[in-house]
């Protein structure tokens, strides 16, 4: 089953992160691309959170401890390589989860969108991994920084680890990159134990609603 709150929060938080790139992406095309990825995830978040309760109350009125998103999606954007790696790691997971649930209407629709997300991250991983010394250095740093957050993805979905790993390692091979060795894993997001990054993200996401309750466009 797709956890409405867990995956809905993943989509909402990652959507907000990607939206932070708008007006400051490396090129106009990537600005538009990242905004489109954000929009897909926002749509999926709205459908999933509406299953768990009132979407606006869930998005605007919960404190960080009430959020059930994994720690990976709340990680700050960093540089473009960091965002690409985060998206490769998460979109590959979400694509596999959606593909596993064709009976779920959000998943059946979302899987087609996530196929584009995964491919976007794949193409940029190859380009940056095989680009310059600098882009390769940044990809390597992003992998080292984000890899410890991947274990949490599979706590609720152990069967997805193998297909996820096959795809991600395939992309890393094509990119001339490799996954970091083992190391300690960080988890807690699914229990509401978040890093300070989520508080900062929610401060921005919720500020307007908290100051002007019921405000609409």
């Amino acid at each position: 089953m797709i956890g409405a709150l867990e995956i809905g929060d993943d989509c909402l938080v990652l959507s907000q992160r990607l939206a932070e790139w708008v007006t400051r992406a490396p090129t106009l095309e990537e600005d538009i691309a990242l905004a489109n990825l954000s929009l897909d995830l926002l749509g999926q978040a709205r459908s999933l959170l509406s299953r768990a309760g009132d979407e606006d109350e869930l998005a605007y009125l919960r404190d960080p401890a009430g959020f059930r998103n994994c720690l990976l999606v709340e990680q700050p954007n960093g540089d473009f390589a960091h965002t690409v790696v985060r998206h490769l790691l998460y979109a590959t997971f979400l694509h596999a989860l959606y593909a596993d649930h064709p009976e779920d209407d959000v998943a059946a629709k979302g899987v087609k969108e996530l196929a584009y997300h995964r491919d976007y991250a794949r193409l940029w991983s190859v380009r940056l991994g095989r680009g310059t010394e600098e882009s390769r250095r940044r990809m390597t740093a992003a992998l080292e920084s984000l890899w410890p957050y991947t274990g949490e993805l599979f706590d609720d979905h152990p069967a997805l680890r193998a297909p996820w790993a096959a795809y991600v390692h395939g992309v890393l091979d094509d990119s001339g990159l490799s996954a970091p060795e083992g190391g300690p894993q960080r988890r807690g997001g699914r229990r509401g134990e978040h890093e300070a990054h989520l508080t900062e993200l929610l401060d921005e996401l919720q500020a307007l609603h908290r100051e002007h309750a019921g405000a609409t466009w």
Binding site: E29, L39, S47, V106, K109, K112
Partner: protein, 155 residues
Amino acid sequence: MSNRGVAEIRAVAAAVPDPELPVVTLGDLGILRDVRRTGDGGIEVVITPTYSGCPAMDAIRDDLRRALPGVSVVTVLSPPWTTDWITEEGRRKLREHGISPPGPTGGPVALTLAPACPRCGSLRTRLVSRYGSTACQAHFACRDCLEPFDHVKEI
């Protein structure tokens, strides 16, 4: 409303233009899924979004209610919209207005390697970005007439 036939109401709903691609209608795009009479004698218009986050959905609901006062508008996600539902008429209108229509879908990420330039017909076109001015379009440019154009991407 109740004395108008379902077929007549369907025709009105199908003729409502898409707010983001106004050269085509809701009927042309295949996002109008059903028009039906409900148990209490009301009329329900069923639509589906092109993409989960399609920001035009609110405008589409408003436009439908304006065109057909009194109807209720229901949104469904299943079965998921596919570009294969865009009608021949819709494809012709897109092409005429400089937007390259989608090819047939297939495979996890359907790729039309060379959509024809909607202006000069050349197949020597290049992908500029998978993402264009709306969620459902990619951005291409023609190598012959040099014109940039949008392509409705296969999904």
